[in-house]
Amino acid sequence: MTGLEIGAAATVARAERDGAARGDTARGETAPADGWRHRHLLDVDVLSASDIDLAMRTADEMKEILGRPIPKVPTLRGTQVTILFYEASTRTRVSFEVAAKNLSADVVNIAASSSSVTKGESLVDTIRTIEALGADIIVMRHGRSGAPYLASQVFSGHVLNGGDGWHAHPTQALLDLFTLRERLPGGRVAGRKIVILGDILHSRVARSNIWTLTTMGADVWLCGPATLLRGFERWAEAMPAGRRLTVTTDLRAALRGAHAVMALRLQQERMAGGLLPSLREYSLRYGLTAETLRWARADALVMHPGPMNEGVEIGPEIADFERSVVTDQVANGVAIRMALLYLIAGSGPIEEGGNRG
């Protein structure tokens, strides 16, 4: 079923709530989301442009639900969503939790330690335990790249990657794309120059955005100190025809004519690793400030996956800037996560519960 059909289902359901009759035929046509072919969401590299479109249109429906006085639908009633976070991240965890609850799922929260020294139980054992406790969907955040793949190999339900190591953060990239579509003139991403700025090397947000944005035809630029871009020039060279990726250490060249700039969080430990001299030097050369933003288009959007280090990668004057879409990103995160939970669960119509029969 396509997003349009989901839209139709939602419209019909709304009509029903408003007292209008709904025929069985309509119900029959709004079968589970068979336009979505992915049992798990582990990475965005396997998502086609039409997969991404479906995710966007589903998120549109979810955002409409979020606008209601009581933003709750019975879609995942009876579905147990276990949120398994090996890294502390309150905002992402809460975003998933709100998303799952809005869909009426039962939510189990597990905070685990990923330190191999302190953990007494292997990831595989933990996943088996979670399965035995009745989980249908595991939302997983882990410090090791690839960990959700291991989970998906031992779990009979669905795994939704909430961020793994440096590798992928699928829902972040999708919410970034959703926000860009909302805020860019004409709602169009194709052909727009989008800059990802900062610590690209260690960023799962950057990697996932490279996939989704190039898939949707954006002109993606990566910019940062050479030590934090290591390997990406090769990737740019290897990009198949039709995907546009440019890597530069020159902030001015990166920002010139940019439609949007996504600043990434810079971690303190990059100094200890000898990758950078100091935060101060970083902010002087690569900080996004009112000054440097002047090199971009006058209507350029400013994004940040959060949490921000104001005064380091982003000037305080920019953080609250009118063209900053950071709060939109947070709000859209819930809609995207609702959409992805719904899609991977292969649920029935959004407004109906009991998909697990």
């Binding site: 790249s145 190591g165 390997g231 990406f232």
Partner: protein, 503 residues
């Protein structure tokens, strides 16, 4: 007799007619027949006694090889020699024992293996070398085990281990493999000291400051998968350091203490080039490469399952693959490199820069492997698949068959040098380590059906280590029998069935 011979049984009568014989020792390759009676090669006939079997030429990378289709299916060569295996005993008998490791070797066609010292405890004294040899004897296997001793006490990289004592006890050489001898001064001392003992230093070249926390080859695949990179320079800078120190020791040591450096599991084009130049300059250096670095490549980490020579023209650049990414069995140190690196290793074999193919057989338990990729133990259980994947490369035209067999037999024996003679002498003074296909000699040989296949599966691997990226794959080249010093180390079928060639 109708039963399949058990390991250790003497060969009563084994007749192999119309086989393809490759004997790097005598430099002959060709069609012929061979008869083993009571453990000894009593008849050896070449189909063209004059022309020869064609001479086995060194460095014959010119496609003069006889195409597989024109050869008989059954291949007979001297039993193979593997100068780099990990047998895990003592200490990790859950991962492998000497007995299971030697059984795996025999199944892979190997009649001699050299075991690394990174056991628990590390083999760092004469007594521990003797214990290792005693364990091998007690295993009942006829596969020969030549143990290495550690370079440094406890493999801690601080002080020299009891090298003289270990050489006297039968150590084939010294290595801290698993780790490099990172301290350059200690490395220099070890190389100089080992030279006087007539033993080589087997070095695992790795500059630790460049590889800390590394998960996969630094390159496109690691970048896309978000894995910490292990750069080629991490190996090449160590190789360069080791060669510079070797040159210095060559000049400083008296002639009676000539050093010999052996660089193991070279994995990059740059490393091979450094050794090529060092050999041209006359330095006493040898090196080996592994079957997995020859046949696999970094794309395997992403789920690409093409061999290196199939992927070279179009390496993986992201997206869908044949298998799931982050398969822990592909985690190995040094990491799987690019297809171009793999091809450079084949060229190194072809021009004689690379002396040997050694498996770095590294069995691990599922507990140590079925964890997050970056936490998974490094290593591939590879001694049983080695011959098959080398033959796949030969079939793909990367190396003449005779050169591949040389790198698995006389090549490694030459690397072992005097240590091989000494070690063999301890058992049977009148027999060289690999006697070759010689009439009158005790038979040490492997019989392979190159037209047949076998399935790599947990049940078909004799090793306790099921950590092979080739699991689930059907490989060509099935070992029918491995014979060591007149006895079966492995047999696939009764003697008369083995003789029923060609298939």
């Amino acid at each position: 007799m109708a039963d399949t011979p058990r390991p250790g049984e003497r060969v009563e009568l084994l007749e192999i007619e119309d086989a393809w014989l490759v004997d790097p020792g005598s430099g002959r390759e060709g069609q012929g027949s061979l008869r083993v009676e009571d453990g000894r090669i009593v008849a050896l006939e070449w189909a063209e006694p004059e022309a020869g079997g064609r001479a086995v030429r060194r460095g014959s990378a010119t496609g003069r090889d006889v195409a597989a289709a024109d050869r008989p299916a059954v291949l007979v060569t001297p039993a193979l020699v593997d100068i780099h295996v990990h047998l895990r005993q003592p200490g990790r008998e859950d991962a492998e024992t000497v007995a299971t490791g030697l059984a795996a070797a025999a199944h892979g066609g190997f009649g001699t293996v050299c075991a690394m010292a990174n056991t628990t405890p590390a083999i760092d004294s004469g007594g521990l070398v003797e214990d290792e040899l005693a364990t091998a004897r007690a295993s009942g296997s006829v596969v020969r085990l030549l143990p290495y001793g550690a370079v440094t006490a406890g493999r801690r990289g601080e002080t020299l281990a009891q090298m003289g004592e270990m050489a006297d006890a039968g150590a084939a050489g010294f290595s801290d493999d698993g780790s490099p001898v990172a301290d350059a001064s200690l490395f220099r001392n070890a190389l100089a000291y080992a030279g006087a003992l007539g033993r080589m230093l087997v070095e695992h070249p790795e500059e630790p400051s460049l590889t800390k926390g590394a998960e996969a080859n630094e390159g496109l695949v690691a970048t896309i998968l978000g894995l910490k990179g292990w750069p080629a320079a991490g190996e090449e800078s160590a190789v360069a350091r080791d060669l510079a120190i070797l040159a210095e020791v060559v000049g400083a040591n008296p002639a009676s203490a000539a050093p010999h450096l052996h660089l193991t599991h070279l994995s990059t084009a740059g490393s091979v080039e450094l050794v090529r130049r060092a050999k041209a300059a006359g330095l006493p250096v040898t090196c080996d490469v592994t079957p997995h670095h020859l046949a696999l490549h970094e794309g395997w980490v992403a789920g690409d399952r093409r061999f290196a020579w199939e992927a070279a023209a179009s390496p993986w650049t992201g997206g869908r693959t044949d298998a799931a990414p982050y398969d822990q069995s592909t985690r190995v140190n040094p990491p799987l490199r690019t297809p171009a690196d793999a091809l450079a290793l084949w060229r190194g074999l072809a021009d004689g820069t690379v002396d040997a193919i050694a498996t770095d057989h590294a069995p691990h338990t599922q507990v140590d492997k079925l964890v997050e990729y970056g936490d998974a133990a490094n290593g591939i259980s590879g001694i049983e698949t080695a011959l098959s994947i080398v033959l796949a490369g030969v079939e793909a035209g990367l190396l003449p068959l005779a050169d591949a067999i040389r790198a698995l037999t006389t090549g490694p024996v030459r690397v072992l040098g005097s240590a091989a003679t000494a070690a063999a002498g301890r058992r049977r003074a009148h027999e060289p380590l690999v006697p070759g296909l010689v009439e009158g000699a005790l038979a040490s040989l492997v019989v392979v059906d190159t037209a047949d296949t076998w399935d790599v599966a947990p049940a078909t691997l004799r090793s306790k280590g099921k950590n092979s990226p080739l699991l689930g794959r059907r490989l060509g080249g099935r070992v029918l029998a491995t014979v060591v010093e007149g006895r079966f180390a492995y047999a696939d079928a009764p003697e008369e069935a083995l003789a029923a060639a060609p298939r």
